[in-house]
């Protein structure tokens, strides 16, 4: 829980420094914002590690197919990275670029989940065939 307070402190500090510097030099303000985002995303990953490990434990307990959880985890990772990049782009005044990043993140997640949809389709076909 200590890291959470640290993240809040870092974000406030970065915001204040960014506002102070933004008056003089906008470029450095953007770089500072990126540094703050990277730091806080790293902190978020500290809490995500045990969650991923728990999901892997659940997968092992339930004898699920390993590749399905892998796809889900990849989708979460892509979503996280594309969201961070999109927020940084929006902060630097390129909101359109950020939206495009979100779009490509969504499309890649959709592309990644094709095997899941295929398995679902096979399942539906099997169920319908048994009727």
């Amino acid at each position: 829980m200590e890291l959470f307070w640290k993240a809040i402190a870092v974000s406030l500090l970065t915001a204040i420094l960014g506002v102070v510097m933004g008056k003089q030099n906008k470029d450095f303000s953007v770089v500072l914002s990126i540094a703050g985002c990277v730091l806080i995303a790293g902190l978020a990953a500290v809490y995500l590690g045990p969650v991923v490990h728990f999901l892997e434990d659940l997968e092992r307990m339930g004898n699920l197919r390993g590749d399905m959880l892998g796809i889900l985890l990849k989708a979460v990772g892509i979503g996280l990275i594309s969201e961070i990049a999109a927020v940084v782009c929006a902060d630097s005044g390129n909101a359109g670029l950020g939206k495009m990043l979100q779009l490509i993140g969504s499309v890649v997640i959709l592309w990644l989940s094709i095997p899941v949809f295929r398995v679902l389709l096979d399942l539906v076909q099997t169920i319908l065939g048994e009727l």
Binding site: V10, M21, V31, A35, L39, G42, K74
Partner: protein, 84 residues
Amino acid sequence: MLSNFGAVHRCGPGNSVYLTMEIDLVFKIAAIGIIVSILNQVLTRSGRDEQATLTSLAGLVVVLMMLAPQIAELFDLVKTLFDF
């Protein structure tokens, strides 16, 4: 203490990533930004606009070179954490 953000992330059995990010990075970037701003003002007032632009550019490159390894580290962390 905000001085050290070093953290260990466990990503499955036998799979660990070490992330060493420090708040010093934010302070360093802010300090370089302030110094470059002052230099920029001084050079602009003394009529050396080209040198002011180059100083600003050099400062930006230095800061980006400091930040790039951290971004790469974050990407590596996410790749390892989510089994890429």
